[in-house]
């Protein structure tokens, strides 16, 4: 037996070390850093289904956390196997993956590519996001329609001849009604600039009816213009979308100067395209515009106040803005986290007193919930927590 001693020692050491490493890792994952949401006031039920995705940093430790009302905080660790997936955050589509497994295969995962109503789910994309389509060649749109009741799906594609060569063509919005599908897409031609297309497809005939060029901006030596689209990421049935065209003039030194900026509102139901005027004091903040249902919000943060300006699309008027009191002792001049969903306003701020979390009613501005994101156990007292996204979890 003596001559086997080395082999036995090596095997023993390997098994001991590796198993203790992974046991320790599993324990550490559970106990290392954990946050919970502690209710200060309001209805506890508000946070029942919420999950906050946050990045935690302390010293040289960087972690991605998922915080829920339960004490245990999950951590997300990028593993080699998860790289087999698309890197995009897929928790939004969990329900789709569970219920419509085959339909979801190979679908480009971006909210703008999906449409859902009571009876069907529609997905549209340009193959490879229109990568490197050459002028004169066919530009194709792949369309998949799933009947939710029967679970049958139908796929077809429509094509048009590309007028220019594109670097990319990204679908921003899909809307379906009256046997037609309207696809809003931004194309980026290879020689610069951007185009905003609205493709109308006849579902029954499976053909492309119109290719409307809503906006086309080019860049030349002096000026540059950009098109930006704003869509409602919360719903898959979007009646409206907003787009903005900015024109810049190149400066000799420094950043380009903004010459003009114009907002447009498109109504999918009646195909109306109208210009939107924003009050002048809101113009600098227009980039943070949020579209929810039939309302447009422009949040403006000041020292201890959030002014949520609202435009009612159907009434075509700017309504009285909501004012929400914020904490005054904000840390590090960090911009508060703001997300509008489920007819509620979710805000989180890092203050000297801790990480505060608020929920307000979107209609009335009334406070529905107030709480604090507290560290349960952690090694360092000195850390920064940055909330990135709020999602709903289905149990």
């Amino acid at each position: 037996m003596k001559k086997y001693s080395i082999m036995i020692i090596i095997c023993f050491a390997i098994i001991t070390a590796i198993s203790s490493y992974y046991i320790q890792l599993a324990i550490a994952s559970k106990n290392a850093v954990s946050f919970t949401i502690e209710t200060t006031s309001g209805d506890k039920k508000e946070i029942d289904n919420l999950m906050l995705q946050a990045s935690y940093q302390s010293g040289d430790s960087h972690r991605q956390l998922y915080i829920t009302k339960d004490a245990a905080t999950l951590q997300k660790r990028r593993s080699i196997i998860s790289n087999l997936n698309t890197p995009y955050e897929i928790s939004k589509y969990q329900q789709y993956f569970q219920e419509h497994r085959n339909f979801m295969r190979g679908k480009y995962l971006s909210p703008g590519n999906f449409f859902e109503d009571d009876v069907r789910i529609i997905h549209t994309t340009a193959p490879g996001n229109g990568e490197n389509v050459l002028k004169g060649n066919l530009l194709t749109m792949d369309i998949s329609i799933l009947d939710k009741k029967s679970n049958d799906s139908l796929s077809f594609d429509v094509s048009t001849t590309a007028q220019v060569s594109y670097n990319f063509l990204l679908v921003n919005n899909v809307y379906a009604d009256n046997g037609e599908i309207k696809i809003l897409a931004t194309g980026y031609p290879s020689n610069g600039g951007s185009e905003l297309h609205l493709y109308t497809v006849d579902v029954n005939k499976k053909t492309l009816l119109y290719d409307a060029l809503l906006a086309k901006e080019a860049s030349d030596v002096d000026t540059n213009s950009t098109i930006k689209t704003f869509t409602d990421d919360n719903k898959y049935q979007k009646d409206y979308f907003v787009y903005m065209i900015d024109k810049y003039k190149r400066q000799e030194e420094g950043a380009p100067k903004l010459i003009s900026s114009q907002l447009y509102l498109y109504n999918n139901k009646n195909n109306e395209n109208e210009k939107l005027t924003i009050p002048e004091e809101l113009a600098p903040k227009v980039d943070s515009l949020l579209l929810q249902g039939s309302e447009i919000f422009i949040p403006v943060f000041s020292a201890d106040d959030l002014q949520l300006n609202r435009y009612n699309i159907e009434k075509k008027q700017w309504e009285k803005p909501l004012h929400i009191q914020l904490a005054s002792d904000v840390l590090n001049e960090m911009v508060p986290f703001l997300q509008i969903a489920n007819d509620k306003i979710y805000i989180s701020e890092s203050t000297t007193g801790g990480h505060l979390f608020f929920i307000y009613d979107l209609r009335t501005g009334k406070s529905l919930y107030e709480g604090q994101i507290k560290q349960e156990n952690g090694e360092n007292a000195d850390y920064t927590l940055c909330i990135e996204l709020l999602t709903e979890i289905t149990h």
Binding site: M7, I10, I14, I18, Q24, S61, I81, G106, Y108, D382
Partner: protein, 275 residues
């Protein structure tokens, strides 16, 4: 089975001297590196404090404290890892070729042992895996020791903790120590299959000479291609296959590739090998 264990033991004892040397080099380099990096940083900090007449808390306010991560990123830490990997890669070939070349022709004895010849193949494969995992183990043992030394040199005010769970941010660590034990088995399983492919390729060369080199290369490329086919498939048809499906496909291709590596090696060793 008994012959297998005896041969594994034999292979381990043969290489053990050299193995101890590279382990010692790793230990020395990493411990020295810990001391040098820690002391170096402290000397710099002390110099800054002295020159600017700062108090400790003043320094901390201006500059962030540092952690053991500095040691992990240094060459003292990473070079031995790469060096050991390179050496083991070479030994994957050398473990076979040493039986034919040099002053010994030990291959005669191996092939004339009263045991299935594939046992030679399995024992060498096992030995390589044990050597790799042994080094992995060494690193696991070293980290707490080095952290201890680091904590002794750097006073508490100037450092933050860097627990094992955060080592994940270092690229090389992510590959050597995957997230979960399941991934660990998968990763090193793939590694084992790669070594098996190389072994069979070597046997092809040893059995057929010059023609053998071509067939060895062709065989390796084909095997490796089949092995990674599911992964390549998933990157071409992005998100068409779900991870569980890709894993299943990978399991199937792994079994096919490993099985054929074993089968071909067995045929070669029994009927085609030349001394």
């Amino acid at each position: 089975m008994k012959s297998y264990l005896k041969l594994v033991n034999f292979e381990i004892n043969r290489f053990f001297k050299l193995y101890l040397i590279i382990m010692a080099l790793t230990v020395v380099s990493q411990i020295m590196g810990t001391i040098i990096v820690s002391k170096g940083n402290m000397n710099y900090i002390n110099q800054v404090i002295y020159e600017n007449q700062l108090s400790v808390s003043q320094y901390i306010e201006e500059n962030r404290p540092f952690s053991f991560q500095r040691v992990v990123y240094s060459e003292w830490f990473t070079m031995p890892i790469f060096f050991c990997m390179a050496l083991l890669m070479i030994y994957v070939f050398f473990i076979w070729y040493r039986e034919w070349f040099g002053k010994n022709t030990f291959i005669y004895r191996l092939l004339m042992l009263p045991a299935e010849r594939i046992t030679i193949y399995f024992s060498k494969l096992t030995a390589i895996m044990l050597f790799v995992l042994g080094l992995i183990t060494l690193q696991i043992i070293l980290v707490p020791i080095e952290t201890f030394i680091f904590n002794r040199i750097v006073p508490a005010e100037f450092r933050t903790s860097y627990p094992l769970i955060d080592f994940y941010s270092v690229e090389i660590w992510r590959w050597l120590y995957p997230n979960t034990i399941i991934e660990f088995i998968l990763m090193y399983g793939i590694g084992l299959i790669v070594v098996a492919i190389i072994f069979t390729a070597i046997l092809l060369e040893r059995s057929y000479g010059l023609k053998g080199i071509f067939s060895a290369v062709a065989y390796s490329v084909l095997s490796f291609g089949i092995l990674v086919a599911p992964v390549i498939l998933s990157s071409i048809y992005t998100s068409y296959f779900y991870p569980s499906e890709i894993l299943l496909m990978e399991l199937v291709t792994s079994i096919i590739v490993l099985g054929s590596a074993f089968w071909i090696a067995n045929q070669l060793l029994k009927y085609k090998i030349r001394v």
